[in-house]
Amino acid sequence: MANKHVNAIIVGAGAGGGIVAKELATKGLSVVLFERGEWPNYDEHPNDELISQRTEVLGSPFGPDHIKNPRTLTYKGGSKQIVTPIHGNYNNVAACVGSGTVSYGAMAWRFMQEDFKLKTVYGSVEGSTLDDWPITYEELEPYYEKAEWEIGVSGDDTQNPFAPPRKKKQPMPPFEYNAEAKVLYDASKRLGLHPFPIPMLRNSVPNNNREACIRNLTCCGFACPVDAKNGTQNTVIPIAIKTGNCDLRTGSKVVEIMIDDRGKATGVKYFDKDDKPQIQTADVVVVAGAAIETARLLLNSKSRLFPNGAGNNSDWVGRNLAGHAYTGAYGLFDYDILDFAGPGATIAWCDFNHHNPGIIGGGLLANEFNRLPYLYTGIRPPGSARWGKDHKEFQRSMYHRTAQIVGPIQEMPMYESRVTVDPEVKDFWGIPVASLSGDRHPLDYEHCKFLSAKAEAILKEAGAYQTWQSIGGQGGPSGGQHQNGTARMGNDKKTSVVNKNGQIHEIDNLFVADGSAMVNGGGFNPALTIMALGFRVGEYIAKNFASIRVT
């Protein structure tokens, strides 16, 4: 039986898609929200480091299935590798209702004003497609505010002198520093830096009929046992469903957007829970599958007017795949500096996000999320034993005594760093898989060296008896954590995929509402920015497509 026509289809129930669903459903539009995964369940993988988003060696706790969903990587020189979600370089994003907002560390950053205009602030960068966003921070500010209040943020930006201007404070008070952060706070103050509590999409106090955070050891990479972490799965998606206008279809794999001969999106083809092929038609289609899967879906949606994929007549879909190069330093202390109060990361510095001599942008620094035992086996000063008696002794004596400061360097966008669809490898459903290729910009490594040195200086001042740097930014293909850029937002259809409203150039009823639209990654974790973009795209569709509402 054919599915009933609806006003809007949203592909992907994550940070962006969940919000668009709520924005449309509460305005009276009928919505089908597709999610290839299922509702997350804490009890399936409680506290299991080996099946977590931190260490996926035995599987991805929130999907996707590791056999059914391969990708390929092409390295410089042409060697190709098939990877599955349990490989780090697959760049997996949780496939479940809420997606990464279930398992993230939940840092709640607003980008700074400069992050929206890197080209204006720093000039063109050779070998990079660095550009300004078509929107400013000021244009996105009201939507950041909506994200903070509707999803739920704990923080106090008044303690961060580098924070961009805001109209309304964050809704919940900030978290207290853990033991490590207290030491780092004093040390960084002595260095003239400006530490402050990390804003978090977690409840510091009871909120939204859910508990306050219990500060458990496992947080980043895991679902929350008491549901104190705020994501779309426990905020906007339930609201959307409650309206009666939103049909959430889990286990449904959207494989193609149908585009008619007039260049309009008419709906999607998908495989349902039972893997049966289905068609759903709609007036508007919104893609929010994260930067890799969104690009793959657009590229796999070939039609007469768009023979190379939806919105891809300028060959920009899938390009500029970027992420964050994590970089920082470790310090060993002669006392137990860690108390393992979850989630571990509590203190941050924005002193190095912008206006660093010789550096394009920069990044925040923060102390690290709690490291679990297996992850810690790889953390040793250079030249240390990787196994044997000494390795075990280090593990035992230093597990509580190793502090880490780390931050995200936004990778310089690269035209050749990209997602394509693989000509040979197909997924379980017979659909060409995403293929990642390209290199990082050489500046990424230079920027990482800069930020790692700053992290090390704080640890030294804090009294670490030994420090060493861990420098990121090398090796390709790009992507890493916080994938973005593959359906870039811009005013010129020749050098971008969507306009400033998230609308695909030349297909005015097809939208993108996830990190794909970002022009660069920002020196911050991007979740709140993706949420703000979701609110903005949702509002635009609700306003401009009101006439399509089914009554």
Binding site: N47, G88, L217, P373, Y374, E393
Partner: protein, 181 residues
């Protein structure tokens, strides 16, 4: 998180995603293991124990690391079966050529020396049958660490041995894992 455990190259794509190469159970004699033969297990236990030796607290053998590796090789690590089978054979060939006895019969000191040669790839093609011993060693190293430091539900870390050693309450119990004053 960025760890690459192994690389599956495109030339083996059909193998990797079509039919998985499973070694039939009938090739082995009766064994408490799913994958390893009893002889292989003796070698594996010795290798794992040198990676995480018993000292003031239990080592890999006491933690049952071999049961973790054995279990996963029959499941999610099935692509690594050949690396283990060939790796153990190459190691035993190397040992019998050098000293006429199997790896596990060597003194701890000698075992460590041999493993250092594997780790640093300091074996000639004739000594290690044309293969790269570090490839096997690195896989074994990751898996041993996982078995010892990962959750007991996967077959290793018996009685939370490593969690006790690290002084952590783990696995945690909801509402009991708050900061203690």
């Amino acid at each position: 998180m960025t760890e690459i455990n192994r690389r599956i190259f495109i030339k083996s794509a059909g193998l990797a995603f079509g039919s998985v190469l499973l070694f039939p159970a009938c090739l082995k004699q009766s064994s408490i293991y799913h994958f390893f033969s009893n002889e292989e297990a003796l070698c594996m236990i010795a290798l794992c124990e040198q990676i995480i030796p018993k000292d003031s607290s239990p080592g890999a053998t006491n933690a049952g690391v071999i049961f973790y590796i054995d279990k996963q090789l029959s499941g999610i690590f099935q692509y690594d079966q050949e690396t283990y089978r060939t790796g153990i054979k190459n190691l035993q060939d190397y040992c019998s050529n050098k000293s006429g006895k199997s790896f596990e019969k060597h003194s701890a000191e000698d075992q460590i020396q041999i493993m250092k040669l594997m780790e640093s790839n300091q074996m000639s093609e004739t000594e290690w049958s044309g293969k790269n011993p570090a490839n096997f060693f690195n896989l074994l190293l990751s898996h041993t660490m996982q078995g010892f430091y990962g959750s007991p539900i996967h077959g290793g870390n018996k009685d939370n041995i490593s969690f006790k050693m690290l002084r952590i309450d783990y696995p945690l119990v909801v509402d009991q894992n708050q900061i203690r004053s």
